[in-house]
Point group: C2
Chain length 334, copies 2
DNA sequence: TGATTTCGTGAAAGCGGTTTCGCGGGTAGT
DNA sequence: ACTACCCGCGAAACCGCTTTCACGAAATCA
């Protein structure tokens, strides 16, 4: 294999003139060891360049130092940089705490797919779920006592820890921004309404409308699916059915770009005639023409929050959900 | 921890009426066990729902079943969906072969950062590197006998296994496409020339020029860095210095989009006055206006190839680099 | 038929840490 | 000065699976 004979506790113990038990105590921060002996152990460790064998440690202690990041997917999601970005945030926090990230990209539906087996078999100390299609496995794992964190708000309000962006607040301020800039008739193109994020964004939109004292006209609420085509098609439909629409809030930047495209195709000027706001502040938002006013969510921070919540649970702390704030980024489109 | 008492070899052995050694043999596909006894073992395994404890297995056998995917990065790269996509391809192949993917996103430069330590400590059976900034660590690990795969062509031609897209061929056909559509003066905006991919794409461009019997005028070769801004800025400079440029090959779609933006800002029509070709066939290419003609690379396949090469090495096979073909996708921009 | 391989199998020794248990000596209580 | 504790530390069991080694039986050879 990879290594030439690495030292073990046996040789550390011998060089330091103590027992292996003491070596273990020192290396695990047990403070009941006499400082002088601890120093000797530490010296031996440094001198020999000792690195603990995590596998052996895992077997003996039952803690593997591995956290699974599970992306519930059938390979359609990868064009979206979102997952990679969140994962990198998770990974960074975990590494800082001496844990490693095990990536599992796989449909998760059932209770005994290979992912389920892996998680249940105690080979990871915890699991972080993305893009959850079902709560079935979650509840099952929760019952087994596996520390869990969900990225995104779960459907059922079980008491599983989760992190999410403030979708409601973001959508609310997007809609308010449109209105306060003079838009009277603001439409929304929602995301896949099966996702909680899309629902929350819709709710934020509705709340802003409510506060304005008006009610969105029928047909201003378009159910999209986060795709460019959906944004474009819904925008066209809106223009046909509601020629006086003067504001569009798209639940993500890609649909906003679709809308911009449809508007340009019809020679409608943005933001003069129709204002458009997106959500995410992805690369697209910065490079579109006109540049997109959008709601920024800090995706790396989301991952870091997930990692932090996991660490907290491993330390036996009670955890509360974390909702990250959003920021309105004003560019040219609204 | 996670599990209620899972069965061990001890109970499997007892129920099947054999020794633990025999259980191990059966579960590891050693065919020297009498079929009848093997069947009994298998029955016991099924009946008890036994799943092997990988940690214990790893300790005893020295094989952990984990492959590291190392992304050498300082957090700038995550907006690019490329890495996530490749990784998902890797992960899929590995999982199919009973291996798990350990993600490490971290600057890798030195020989003894935490990543280096982790890899050297034998806690993974192999490592797949992305976006390599230096060959230092690679050569060191290679010497230690750790199975390695690099995604992208390495700088030094050490004999490390790697997978890559046919950058040369892709750039070649992109440039030829521009020329055969009538472009006489074709510029290239390269990627970060420190990357081998950018160099290869430049070479492909030069080769196509050579075959056309012409030589690219001075100033037609612009050194970019894969960013939108670079694409835009270089395009503007080109238009200033070479008003008769009629073709632009950008080394990625994002820079091509920057070029399109610059062209639109100046009221230059695409593809009538200037033709543009990108590279990647990312989402951007499909949603830009006009839609971008580009070179498609199959990023998931790249990851799968990397995984496959890893598996082969673990099986002790000699491996050759894999170069994946590209495809010219003709849309509106050229 | 006796000597020699071959083959299937179990006992047992690891793999390299962690953790329980109990011992000896020092401190405290009376 | 005598029992009662407490504290630091080492011996040894243990985590669950792999692998070597040797043994008895069956097969091959002379």
């Amino acid at each position: 294999m990879a290594t030439a004979a690495r030292p073990t506790y046996a040789v550390i113990a011998k060089t330091a003139g103590v027992s292996e038990a003491t070596v273990s105590r020192v290396l695990n921060g047990d403070d009941s060891v006499h400082p002088e002996r601890a120093r000797r152990v530490q010296e031996a460790v440094d001198k020999l360049g000792y690195k603990k064998n995590r596998v052996a440690s895992a077997l003996a202690s039952g803690r593997t130092g591995l956290i699974a990041v599970v992306i519930d997917d059938d390979l359609s999601v990868f064009s979206d940089p979102f997952y990679g970005t969140v994962t990198s945030g998770v990974s960074r926090v975990l590494m800082e705490n001496g844990l490693q990230t095990v990536l599992m990209v796989s449909p998760v539906g059932s209770l005994d797919g290979s992912v389920a087996h892996y998680l249940k078999s105690g080979e990871v100390d915890g699991a972080i779920f993305f893009a959850l299609h079902s709560d079935l496995l979650i509840n099952n794992l929760k019952k087994q006592g596996l520390p869990l964190v969900i990225t995104g708000t779960p459907h059922s309000s079980s008491d599983v820890a989760f992190v999410d962006t403030d979708n409601f607040g973001g959508a609310h301020s997007a809609t308010k921004h449109l209105m306060s800039n003079g838009a009277k008739k603001v439409a929304i193109i929602t995301g896949d309404i099966g996702t909680t994020a899309a629902k929350q964004r819709l709710d934020g939109y509705l709340q802003a409308y409510r506060e304005s004292g008006h009610v969105p006209a029928k047909g201003l609420i378009c159910e999209g699916d986060y795709s460019f085509e959906a944004g474009k098609a819904h925008c066209e439909k809106l223009l046909d059915q509601h020629p006086d629409v003067d504001g569009i809030f798209a639940s993500n930047d890609l649909m906003a770009l679709g809308a911009l495209t449809a508007l340009r195709d019809r020679g409608i000027s943005v933001p003069e005639q129709v204002r458009v706001v997106g959500f995410d502040d992805s690369l697209i938002a910065q490079t579109s023409a006109p540049a997109l006013t959008t709601i920024r969510q800090d995706v790396v921070a989301l991952g870091e929050a997930a990692g932090t919540l996991m660490i907290a649970q491993l330390n036996g702390q009670e955890v509360e959900p974390i909702i990250l704030p959003t920021e309105l980024i004003i560019r040219a489109s609204a």
